[in-house]
């Protein structure tokens, strides 16, 4: 079962993502409401996937993405953001994000993106 870390400052968003993913057979192993906790959990839990909100109280999701990529963290990161311009989406993907979801989204979209990210090249 793929393990997932959910990062979002909104308790509601975390609950929603968690329920949707758990129902679909993923295992949400951790939740973080800010950047510091996200980094800490990403390092200690070594999840397969991270869903990452961009605007967090202490830092931007992009900074976390950058930091984790630099550290060589194996987690595949899916950015979730309210910003939907192609230019930014492409930039974030170039920075190492595997997927990008624009808020608001249907849970089905989340699942299809997550499935796709998992399949893109099989995670062991």
């Amino acid at each position: 079962m793929k393990t997932v870390l959910v990062v979002d400052d909104s308790a509601y968003m975390r609950a929603l993502i968690k329920i949707a993913l758990n129902d679909a057979g993923y295992n949400v192993v951790g939740e973080a409401e800010d950047g510091a906790k996200a980094l800490e959990l990403a390092r200690s839990l070594q999840p397969d996937l991270i869903t990452l909100d961009n605007i967090l109280p202490d830092m931007f999701g992009i900074e976390i993405l950058q930091q984790l990529t630099n550290e060589g963290n194996a987690a595949r990161i899916i950015m979730i953001s309210a910003v939907g311009q192609d230019r930014i989406i492409n930039k974030v993907k170039k920075m190492g994000a595997y997927g990008y979801i624009v808020k608001p989204f249907e849970p089905e979209l989340l699942l299809s993106v997550v499935d796709e990210v998992c399949k893109s090249t099989a995670i062991a």
Binding site: D23, A82, P104
Partner: protein, 676 residues
């Protein structure tokens, strides 16, 4: 997704949304005072952003679109392209109210909401279209000190520096002239016997913040010699001396202060590692409460169970006491201790900071003052005072009523205030504080005060008092709490909606609290509400009268005495001498009409205090302290004034909890009747 999941999600969303509303409102009001505070603006933007994100997910596009434009405004403000104006604050506050409606009713079924929606949308668009101008009119607010750097300067003139007539102080003075400085002087002299008055032993360390480049700082020392040690180093690209935290942490600039370059670097490093401290106080205080979310029904349940546990534990203690089994007694003692601790912990959980309530009033005061065209400075103090959440919930209405009264009848209009030589802006202080086992909440205004004479006239007219009654000013003031007495000369839209001060008093009494009023004509009115910390369990003194047990709240007990019954019961004046002072007393036997036949020879007198008077309560005997779990009394007792509740004793018997305040007032009134 499953139905129950959806319900759960919706609940989480609602909780979070209401928390965000509170946070946004609070930060907006704080921003009204300091509109340039970037941490407040960042917090506002983030809250609005989060609200937009989650409301979009709950499925209401309308809410998202509405908040989106608001978010754009704050995005502009955040990036320094626009100032946070009162207009924006006002508009955002109204938008938040509207969003609350939108979340519940996205279709906007009421016409009123529809028009409001349109009006607010227009208003936001107007602000947004105007914002293009701001960008050029008000250039981005960059840091206050462009190019200001902080240097460390060390200067140790060689020993013979003074001999050629040089004055090292001139150089130091020159440094202080090119920027802000902290100057530390050191004297390195060694033995007094080696002292040579012609030599220079002094060295200086200077922390200098200046716009000048480093070369200009070095130039100060251009005419010194090679033997003089001088050092200029860049400490930071910022103006450290403008940072109060830095200055605070530096040693005091006095002779021989212990300072090294490393030490300064450590301080700077310490500052950098810290999270912005401003954010930790007011702006994020609300966050701390959201540590854990427990449904309040669960807390109520916990409190109920703890109450039951205490009752059972009392039964156990009693059983152990009667069976003389040392082992059992040890266990029972232990249980009692743990039950007490558990009770305290459980109570602690039901306590809420009163700030939650205060925040709401900020908003209301602002709106009401605007409506009345009065200018009011609303100050709150002691927001971190904690109270039982049930009390906080039930306190909202009476407090709101009192504040409204202060605004409407207390604070005068601007012109009248000016005439009377008062500052145009009135002040209403809402303050909470602990005192003993009670929490006091005080509302103080600097308005016109209450005219005692007018109260008297009115009370006479309404036949509340008689011409012959001799009332002190204080007693007259207290008449405002009597049912059917309304002070408002002119009934305005705000007050005088039929809810009078008597209802306020009743609400407070229902919470086992008391209320008092003080007022100085022309200077202002203070209303003080005293409240118990909690409602469900009280520490009481268990007493016996004849064969029945009663509980007297321990909080109001001053002292206990023993007296021969014959020494006072037939005293004509109805007073007892205790510690060489005379007090009126209430003989509970007499009060409950129990025959004198089996009265004990020696009585216990308990001196009980309400907020102003002390009265002795005469009982047969004192049993001991008892943690009374308060239960409401049945309907036959409901109209009785002397009991405030009942509790179950360890042996299963019922004891009534006496309402000493009421008994004392009654006694007092009787005494007055007798006197007249």
């Amino acid at each position: 997704m499953k139905e129950e999941d959806l319900i759960q999600l919706r609940n989480i969303f609602m909780d979070e949304a209401s928390e965000l509303f509170v946070k946004i409102e609070k930060n907006l009001l704080a921003a009204e005072q300091s509109p340039d505070d970037p941490t407040l603006i960042a917090a506002l933007f983030r809250s609005i952003h989060t609200l937009k994100g989650s409301s979009g997910m709950i499925g209401s596009k309308k809410v998202t679109d509405f908040i989106h434009n608001l978010e754009s405004i704050f995005d502009k403000i955040r990036s320094g392209m626009a100032p946070l104006t009162p207009e924006i604050i006002d508009c955002t506050l109204q938008c938040m109210d509207h969003v609350k409606v939108l979340i519940v009713d996205p279709e906007l079924k009421k016409d009123k909401d529809q028009t409001n929606d349109q009006a607010l949308t227009d208003r936001i668009n107007q602000i947004l279209s105007g914002s293009a101008k701001w960008a050029t009119a008000q250039p981005a607010q960059t840091q206050s000190a462009v190019g200001r750097h902080t240097y460390y300067v060390y200067f140790k003139p060689h020993a013979h520096f003074l001999k050629d007539g040089s004055n090292p102080l001139l150089l130091i003075e020159e440094l202080t002239e090119i920027g802000d400085t902290l100057v530390y002087a050191h004297i390195d002299m060694g033995q007094m016997s080696d002292y040579d008055p012609t030599l220079c032993y002094t060295s200086w360390q200077v922390v200098l913040s200046t716009d000048e480049p480093m070369s200009n700082v070095q130039e100060v020392f251009i005419f010194t010699q090679d033997e003089d040690i001088k050092e200029v180093k860049l400490l930071s690209n910022e103006d450290l001396l403008a940072n109060p935290r830095f200055v605070q942490r530096m040693p005091k600039p006095e002779l021989g202060a212990d300072l090294t370059q490393e030490k300064i670097h450590d301080i700077i490093k310490g500052l950098e590692q810290e999270v912005e401290p401003v954010e930790t106080d007011s702006a994020t205080k609300v966050d701390a409460i959201s540590n854990i979310r427990v449904a309040s029904t669960k807390l109520d349940e916990l409190m109920n169970q703890v109450s039951e546990l205490i009752t059972s534990q009392a039964a156990l203690s009693l059983y152990a006491k009667n069976h003389f089994d040392p082992n059992l007694e040890v266990i029972a003692d232990n249980m009692e201790k743990i039950a007490r601790q558990l009770r305290d912990t459980a109570f602690d959980m039901t306590l809420l900071e009163i700030d939650h309530l205060f925040t709401r009033f900020h908003r209301s005061v602002r709106d009401i003052a605007t409506q009345l065209d009065k200018s009011v400075h609303f100050v709150t103090e002691g927001g971190d005072t904690e109270l039982d959440k049930t009390i906080i919930d039930n306190l909202a209405d009476p407090l709101m009523h009192l504040i409204r009264n202060s605004l409407d009848h207390g604070i005068e209009t601007k012109s009248i205030r000016a005439q009377r030589g008062k500052p145009e802006k009135g002040t209403i202080l809402l303050k909470a504080y602990y005192s003993g086992a009670k929490v006091y909440v005080q509302i103080k205004d600097d308005g016109k005060g209450i005219d005692v004479e007018k109260i008297k006239q009115k009370a006479l007219k309404n036949e509340i008092i008689k011409e012959s009654d001799q009332l002190t000013d204080k007693e007259l003031l207290n008449l405002i709490f009597v049912p059917g007495f309304s002070m408002a000369k002119d009934v305005t839209d705000l007050s005088g909606r039929g809810v009078g001060m008597d209802v306020v008093k009743k609400n407070v009494l229902d919470l086992r609290g008391d209320i008092s009023v003080e007022s100085v004509l022309g200077e202002g009115t203070t209303i003080t509400i005293g409240l118990p910390l909690t409602l469900s369990v009280i520490d009481g003194l268990q007493v016996k009268v004849h064969d029945t047990d009663y509980i007297i709240p321990l909080g109001s007990v001053e002292k206990c005495f023993e007296l021969k019954r014959s020494s006072f019961v037939n005293d004509f004046n109805q007073v007892v001498s205790l510690d060489e002072q005379q007090y009126p007393y209430i003989d509970l036997r007499g009060e409950f009409q129990i025959s004198e036949d089996n009265a004990p020879v020696t009585n216990s007198i308990i001196l009980v205090k309400d907020h102003e008077r002390e009265v002795g309560f005469c009982v047969d005997e004192i049993v001991g302290e008892y943690q009374a779990v308060l239960k409401p009394v049945g309907k036959y007792y409901r109209d009785q004034e002397f009991v405030s509740g009942a509790t179950i004793l360890g042996d299963g018997k019922i004891a009534l909890v006496l309402d000493t305040n009421n008994l004392i007032s009654k006694k007092h009134n009787n005494l007055k009747l007798a006197a007249s």
